[in-house]
C-alpha cells in the first residue's frame, strides 16, 4: 500500500530489490551521520545526498512531497518556538519576547537534519514492502517481540483503516458534516470509541483463532533472505556516500 504508492510502478530500483538488511543498515548509518553533523554546509550536503537517494530509488516526487508536507507542519512548530525559547544574543523582539540567534541557528540545524533523515528514510525504507523490512530486522537480530509487534501492525493497520473508513462512510451517508460544534466532537468521540471497541473484539478473535491452531506463545518467521555480493557493494557505496559530509565537516573545522 505505502510502497506501491511511493514508487513508480515501472521503475523497480536497486533499493527495492536488494536484501532489506542493506536498506536498514544504510538508513542507520545515514541517521548516525546526520546526528554527528553540526555545520550547515555539511548538513546541506547531507540533504543533497538524501535527494540523490530518492532519485536512485525512483520515488515519485508527488508522493514524496505529500509526505514531507505532513512532516513539515510538525517541524514548523519547532522552528517557530525554538528561537524564542533558547537563551543567547537577541536577534529581534516580538510582542515582548526576544528571539535569539542561537535559537534560530539551532532551529535551522534541526530542520536540515530532520529533513535529510526523513528523505533518506523515504528512499531507503518506505519504498520497501513493510513485511520484508520485518524480515530484515529479524535477521539483524532485533528482539523477536518487537518484530512480531511490527508484523502484526503491518498486517492489521489496513483492516483497521478499512473499519474506520466504513464507520466514516456510515456517518457521511447520514448527512454528517464536520463543523466546530458539540455534535461533531461527540460524534467523533463515538467513532473513535467504536473503533477501539471493534479493535479489541478483533484482537480477541485473532487470539481465539491462534488458540484454535494450538498457539503456545511462540511465533515463527521463515527467513528466506539471501545476502549477495551486489548487496555488499551497494551497502559499501551507500555508506561511503553517507560518510562524505562527515569527512568534509572535519575539514571545515
Amino acid at each position: 500500500m505505502l510502497a506501491s504508492q511511493l514508487q513508480a510502478q515501472h521503475h523497480l530500483s536497486r533499493f527495492s530489490l536488494s536484501d532489506p538488511r542493506v536498506n536498514i543498515l544504510a538508513a542507520g548509518i545515514f541517521a548516525l551521520v546526520a546526528v554527528l553533523l553540526t555545520q550547515w554546509p555539511a548538513l546541506m550536503l547531507l540533504l543533497g545526498l538524501a535527494l540523490l537517494f530518492n532519485v536512485m530509488a525512483g520515488t515519485r516526487w508527488r508522493s514524496v512531497i505529500k509526505r514531507l508536507l505532513a512532516f513539515e507542519t510538525f517541524m514548523l512548530l519547532l522552528v517557530l518556538m525554538l528561537p524564542f525559547s533558547m537563551p543567547g544574543e537577541t536577534w529581534f523582539r516580538l510582542f515582548g519576547l526576544s528571539a535569539t540567534i542561537e535559537g534560530a541557528s539551532q532551529a535551522l540545524t534541526i530542520l536540515l537534519r530532520a529533513n535529510a533523515v526523513v528523505l533518506a528514510l523515504l528512499a531507503l525504507l518506505a519504498i520497501r514492502e513493510p513485511v520484508s523490512l520485518g524480515y530484515g530486522a529479524a535477521a539483524l537480530g532485533f528482539p523477536a517481540k518487537l518484530i512480531h509487534l511490527f508484523m502484526m501492525t503491518v498486517r492489521y493497520i489496513q483492516v483497521l483503516g478499512d473499519e474506520f473508513q466504513r464507520l466514516r462512510n456510515a456517518m457521511k451517508a447520514r448527512a454528517f458534516e464536520p463543523a466546530s460544534n458539540w455534535h461533531t466532537w461527540r460524534s467523533y468521540g463515538w467513532l473513535m470509541g467504536m473503533l477501539l471497541v471493534r479493535s479489541m473484539e478483533r484482537a480477541q478473535r485473532i487470539v481465539d483463532a491462534m488458540r484454535c491452531r494450538g498457539f503456545d506463545g511462540s511465533l515463527y518467521l521463515r527467513s528466506q533472505l539471501l545476502w549477495r555480493k551486489s548487496d555488499s557493494l551497494l551497502l559499501l557505496g551507500l555508506s561511503l556516500l553517507a560518510l562524505v559530509p562527515l569527512v568534509w565537516q572535519q575539514f571545515l573545522e
Binding site: M152, I206, D208
Partner: protein, 251 residues
C-alpha cells in the same frame, strides 16, 4: 440414513449446554451428537447464537453450563479443550481474524509447527495442503493483499494443515462471489471430515449437509431439509441475451 453410522461412537457429544451473556440467555439445554462422516447443518436467524455455540464447543467461551464430550473425553478445562482443538478445525466467519502471519506459507505452517513438526516438515505440510487446494502459487504472497475469496481458501488451508477430524465452518461462503463460493464448496465437498456447517446459503446446505438442526428461541430442534422446485434469478449481460449466447450458457 445409513444405520451403520449410528452404531459408531460420536465424535462430539453435547448435553444440556447453556450459554448466557450477562444475564441474557443465548441458548438453553442444547443437546446433539456429531458422528463420523456426518455433515450437520446448523441453521437459525442472525443472532440466534450459532457462532456462540461453535465457539463454546471448542472452549473459546468458558462461561457455559452443560457437558461437552469430544472424542470420548469430557472437556471442562482449558487443557482438555486444547487437546480437543487439535482435532477440531474452526473456519472463522471473517478470514482476516484467521490469517495473521506476514505470508501465506508461514500462516499455513503455523498450526503444524504448534503441533510439534520441525520447520522443514511444517513447510512441506503447508505446501502440500496448499497444492491440494490448488493454491500453491499463493505460497509466497502477503496475506493482507489477498482478495476475500483467496483469503477464505487460505484460511481453509490453515485449518486443514492441522489434519483435523472434525470441521466447524461458520458461514463459510459469506461475502464470497459466486465463483469463489463454488470453488470453496467443491473443495469442502471433497473432504472426508465430519462437519458442522453454519450457513444461510441454500446452495451450501444443499451441497454439503446430511442433516440439519435449527437453533431458534434458545432451543435446538431437529430440522427437516426439503427441496422444492423454484424459480431463480440469473443475471446476464444484455448483449449476450441479444446474441442468444445465454441459451448456450444454460446448457
Amino acid at each position: 440414513m445409513n444405520p451403520s453410522i449410528s452404531i459408531k461412537a460420536p465424535l462430539l457429544s453435547v448435553t444440556e449446554l447453556s450459554v448466557s451473556y450477562t444475564h441474557r440467555s443465548v441458548f438453553n439445554g442444547v443437546s446433539f451428537d456429531l458422528y463420523p462422516q456426518e455433515r450437520l447443518a446448523l441453521v437459525g436467524a442472525n443472532g440466534a447464537g450459532k457462532s456462540t455455540l461453535l465457539r463454546t464447543l471448542i472452549g473459546l467461551n468458558n462461561q457455559f453450563q452443560g457437558q461437552i464430550v469430544g472424542f470420548g473425553q469430557r472437556c471442562r478445562q482449558e487443557r482438555e479443550f486444547q487437546q480437543l482443538r487439535k482435532k477440531v478445525g474452526f473456519l472463522f466467519q471473517d478470514s482476516d481474524d484467521q490469517l495473521f502471519c506476514p505470508t501465506v506459507l508461514e500462516d499455513v505452517a503455523f498450526g503444524p509447527l504448534n503441533l510439534g513438526l520441525s520447520a522443514d516438515a511444517a513447510q512441506r505440510k503447508a505446501l502440500q495442503v496448499l497444492a491440494s487446494l490448488g493454491m500453491i502459487e499463493f505460497a509466497d504472497r502477503i496475506t493482507y493483499r489477498l482478495s476475500g475469496g483467496e483469503k477464505r481458501m487460505i484460511a481453509l488451508a490453515t485449518v486443514l494443515a492441522m489434519e483435523p477430524e472434525v470441521l466447524l465452518l461458520d458461514e463459510p461462503t459469506n461475502g464470497l462471489d459466486e465463483s469463489a463460493q463454488q470453488r470453496l464448496l467443491a473443495h469442502l465437498d471433497g473432504l472426508s471430515q465430519a462437519m458442522i456447517v453454519v450457513s444461510h446459503d441454500r446452495s451450501v446446505l444443499e451441497r454439503l449437509a446430511t442433516r440439519a438442526v435449527l437453533l431458534e428461541g434458545g432451543q435446538l430442534t431437529k430440522a427437516v431439509m426439503h427441496r422444492h422446485p423454484h424459480e431463480h434469478l440469473h443475471v446476464h449481460a444484455e448483449d449476450r441475451i441479444a446474441a442468444g449466447i445465454h441459451e448456450q450458457e444454460h446448457r
